[in-house]
Structure formats: C-alpha cells, structure tokens
C-alpha cells in the first residue's frame, strides 16, 4: 500500500490539519532546544568576558610588581 493510500484511510483527522499539528510539536521541541542553547551561549560569553578581565587584572598586577622590584635599591 502506498503512503498516500495509507494517509487516505487514516480516519482520525484530515491530513492537512494532522501535518500542521505534527510539524507544530516538532518545531516546539526544536525551539525549546534553540532557546536553551541561546541562553547557554550568553552565559558562556559572560564567562569568557570574566576570564579576559581576570587575565587583564593578573597582568596589571604582575606589571606593578615588576615596577616595584625595579625601584627597590640594590644592596
């Protein structure tokens, strides 16, 4: 039996509306996944920003320490 014939005998719903609902359910699933991945991407970029800030602060601290060491008189 061809797929079209199977569809034709499916009694519960007319196909044009069934396809719409099935597509809707799967689109909802994909949309939830995309929203979640989007939120996680935002959080990841925040962590990257914090890491870059930390690197900057550590380098600034190291530069200040080196400058202090150069100023110290040699005995």
């Amino acid at each position: 039996m061809s797929l079209g014939a199977v569809f034709a005998v499916a009694p519960a719903l007319p196909l044009h509306s069934a396809g719409k609902y099935v597509a809707g359910a799967y689109i909802v699933f994909v949309a939830i996944l995309l929203i979640y991945v989007g939120i996680m991407a935002t959080r990841l970029s925040r962590t990257e920003r914090e890491l870059a800030e930390l690197r900057r602060d550590v380098e600034a601290q190291r530069a200040a320490r080196d400058a202090d060491r150069e100023r110290e008189p040699v005995a």
């Binding site: 199977v6 009694p11 069934a18 396809g19 609902y21 099935v22 809707g24 359910a25 939830i32 914090e50």
Partner: protein, 242 residues
Amino acid sequence: MTTYGRGLRGLSLAAAATITAALALTFFYAPLDANQGFIQKIFYLHVPLAITALCGFVFGGVLGAMYLRTGDRKWDIRSYVAIHMALIFGIGTLLTGTIWAKASWGHWWVWSDPTLTSFLIVMLLFATYQPLRFSIEDPERQSRYAAVFAVVAGAFVPLNFIAVRAAQAYVHPRVLTLTGGNLPGAMRLTFLVSLVGIVLLYVTLWKYEMAAKATRMQVRALRRTLLGEDSVAPLKRSAAPS
C-alpha cells in the same frame, strides 16, 4: 576537581545521531497508526520527553539525597541542574501534549484526564523549587532545604505515576505496559530509539550545564587566589547554587 566537559563531545555526537535516526524511523519507517493516523507521530517525541522529564525529577531527588548524606556542595549543584533540565523537558512534554490533545481530542487540555492533570501537578510542584531556593539567602541552608525538597518531590513522582496507572483511564491511551503493551514491533523500535535519543540529549545538556557552572566557579576561585578576596564581587542573591 571534576571535569564535566570530559566525554561531552562524544555524548553530543551520540545524541545527535540517535535523534536523527529516531526522526528518520518516525517519518519513514514506523507505520501509521490505524486509529489516529499521522498525528500519532507526536507520540515518538511527547512520550520520551515525558519519561525523561519524570526520571530527571527522580534523578534530582537521588542527587539531593547524596548531598544530604555527604554535605558536599557538588551534589547540590548536580541536583539543581538535573531538576532544571527536567523542568525544561517537562515544558516540552506539556507543549507537545497540548498540541496532540488539540489535534486528537479537539481540546488543548482535558482536565478530567488523570495523566494530564497529574503531570501538571508534578510540574507545578517542581516549579516551586527555584522560588524556594531564591527565598533562602544563606547558601548552606538553601542547599539543605532544596535537597530535602528534591528528595520528597522526587519520591512523589513514582507514587503519582503508580496512582495514575491504577486509576481508570479517561481518554489517555495505555500503550506501554509491563506485559508488553499494544505497540507493534516497528512502532516499538522507533519509540525505543526516540527514548534513547531524548535520554542522551538530557544527559548531554546536563553535562553541558554542569561544565559551564564548574568553569564559572573556577574562574571566580582563580580570581580569589590570584588577586585576593576583595577582587571578587559578592554574589547576588540567586536560586542557583554558587
């Protein structure tokens, strides 16, 4: 230190491959349901999502019990993420379920159906988990109370499930039973592949979120170690463990 990112790539690929296989089986292999026709294809998404969400709540309860037993905060974070992920999967279950209900029964929601209503009760119960956490400022107390909640609510899930199964079904069909159920072989295979795919997706996202949280905490700890306690801004009040 636990590295949650380990194995994440392989797990992600396995989840993607299984879900792709499940979609192919759903639309090109599984026969059309004699009663519902094409609309029954939602079953292969809706039911695995529901099973995974309910198991995720129980998993959160088990992890909460581990926190109460050990007092180690890592179990609290794991429990929090497990419940958070289960809530997301639960929302997916409710949305796909209402679409299926509308198409199949002509109503977005049927209050007299015990399966629908009980799932909503479980969702509403776990929806209070985050506000509960947020309402407690002290991190230790927050973790302890949240773990107790996770254990009690997690234990409620199987009890609720058994009660609903024991009740007379109104309109929700029973296709999965301990004696084999009413699913023909091709439909059963498609369902099982879909279930494995959704479970793998849950585990992948759980590990992904755990890895993100662990990285964030490590950055804060590193800042504290390298630049001193004052360099770290105090955490704002949050429902998430920190």
